[in-house]
């Protein structure tokens, strides 16, 4: 086969693969712009019109927000932002302690931290529920935020990065009179921005995708977060498919808007970027 032809075949395969992956996504997006009764119209039998939003309407989005989806987004943003802010502080402090100090039982505690993020959430859901209900937090925002603040993976991420920072930096800063918190804030955090962003995004997305726990911890359903809210679209009335797709699009869009500008750091942070001397 001549090289040009080989390339053509290769690209054809790639395009075909891309279509297979992208098509469902595309179909979901455009379905959110159709009236509910028109969603399955061109699928059986399939016509190419199924790939075009026609008839076009924003009804689904209007309906979603009329049904209080705006408040649900605001709730989730609040929970996720609180968790991210508190989580960055707590997990960075923990990672810093593991990386810089020697204390009895350090490796054991670190091992527990590692195991804690290997455990599936389902395994701790019931014990956690007991603790939270003893604290009287059921149906309070605290039930959603506090248990998610300390995150083993984030601690481990910070620990890994801080450990690679040459000790000379912290010693030089100590000689200059800086305390440990100052060293963390003025030296380690600026050097580990990609790690901070990675950890922050992780905490955010963790909350954004939370479903089981909010369902358990907020039984009154007064304060709904996005995944729970979305599920409600399915069974509350006869399924409003276009609204369901609209909610899904919004749910995906918000973290994406966050991720794209920070993507550069995110990838760098996970790759464990080196430190320029």
């Amino acid at each position: 086969m001549p090289p040009v032809l080989r390339k053509a075949v290769l690209y054809l395969c790639l395009v075909a693969a891309a279509i297979i992956f992208v098509l469902p996504l595309w179909w979901a997006i455009l379905s959110s712009f159709r009236p509910n009764d028109a969603i399955f119209r061109d699928l059986f039998p399939f016509t190419p019109r199924a790939l075009w939003p026609e008839p076009f309407t924003l009804d689904a989005y209007v309906a979603i927000f009329e049904r209080g989806f705006g408040a649900i987004i605001a709730n989730t943003l609040l929970v996720a932002a609180l968790t991210t802010a508190l989580g960055l502080v707590v997990n960075a402090l923990a990672g810093f302690a593991f990386a810089l100090f020697d204390f009895p039982g350090k490796s054991t505690v670190l091992g527990i931290v590692v195991v804690s993020f290997m455990l599936p959430f389902e395994a701790i859901a019931m014990p956690l529920y007991t603790v939270v209900s003893q604290l009287g937090w059921i149906d309070h925002v605290a039930a959603l935020v506090v248990p998610s603040v300390a995150n083993g993976l984030a601690v481990f991420l910070f620990y890994q990065f801080f450990q690679q920072v040459p000790k000379d930096y912290s010693e030089a800063a100590r000689l200059e009179g800086a305390g440990w918190l100052r060293i963390l804030w003025s030296v380690y955090v600026p050097l580990s921005l990609p790690t901070c962003i990675s950890a922050g995004l992780m905490l955010f997305i963790f909350q954004w995708e939370a479903f089981l726990w909010p369902l358990l911890a907020m039984p009154a359903q007064q304060f709904k977060v996005i995944q729970v809210g979305m599920a409600a679209f399915q069974d509350q009335y006869t399924t409003a498919w276009n609204q369901l797709f609209g909610a899904a699009v919004i749910t995906a869009l918000i973290p994406m808007l966050l991720l794209i500008p920070l993507q550069r750091y995110y990838v760098q942070g996970l790759a464990g970027s080196g430190i320029k001397g």
Binding site: P166, D168, Y169, E171, A172, A173, R174, L175, E176, G177, A178, R182, S186, V187, P190, L191, I275, K276, G277
Partner: protein, 355 residues
Amino acid sequence: MSSLELRGLRKHFGPVEIISGVELKIAEGELVVFVGPSGCGKSTLLRLIAGLETVSAGEVLIGGRDVTKVDPAKRGVAMVFQSYALFPHMTVRQNMGFGMRVNRVPKAEAAVKIEQAAALLQLTPLLERKPAQLSGGQRQRVAIGRALVRQPDVFLFDEPLSNLDAELRVQMRTELLALHARLGATMIYVTHDQIEAMTLADRIVVLRAGRVEQIGAPLELYDDPDNLFVAGFLGSPRMNFLPAEVQPDGRLRPDGMSVDLPSPVDGLEPGCRVVVGCRPENVELTDTGAIQASIKSVEQLGNATFVHADCGAGLAVAAELRQRWSLSGQTTLRFNLPIAQTQVFDADTGLRIRK
């Protein structure tokens, strides 16, 4: 500017003793160099003085004050790290001003101090750069500048020049000496480069395996070493050592040779094992020399010539000549060890035998 004193200083990491009872007094304004082979504990000793390691036993006094348990920042010391440890995300100005920001020195005052230090170290045009945008020598100067603005009582340098190329090292050495003359500050300088030690030091402290082997002015140590280790450590090529036995007449018979050398010290016990030491530049090449050796190699440095020879039984001897010298087919060498320039050491203890 302060004096410094170490009393019975010890440090162990786990069961291993790294510093074994160091006694040292450094006067105000003195520049003292710690030398020793790699791993002998030079950095550890410096870090004990700075307070970056806790002392296992003994005391550290700075300016007469016991600072053994004092926080590193409050000891009045500034340290220049081998890695420089400049904060990579800060400009030169921010790096130099870090300590003053931490200690809430008024901004105007801090700015003046930074400008002064920068001018002294020729860093003024570089103040807004980040460390990554500087050459090795410039980074080195920034690290010194960061120490300088703190106006410490004692400066500590841990192999500050070891990352620089040879030419820059010579230049920085001169600059450091000028700085010391200008500030008159007490300085401790760690290196394993004996040239640096010889050229910089008011006094040298030779360390081995966590012990002080000898303390003294550079030439004092060079001319009058207390033991085999110091004699062998200073000077390049190193001092020639010939194991020998004391004869009944008090003369010294090097192993594997059939000649006796006159002894520079009297009263040696016959049969005693000793080591005769003589520096390469003192080896006297003459055709009538008492000792014969086969030539192994000749190094021509232009200003000097080193001849390496073998006296048999694997005993190597080096000789340094001030004039050009070529082999011209010669394979053996005859030489004398001038009695005034030879030293005798006890073979068992390594200690110098004086008298």
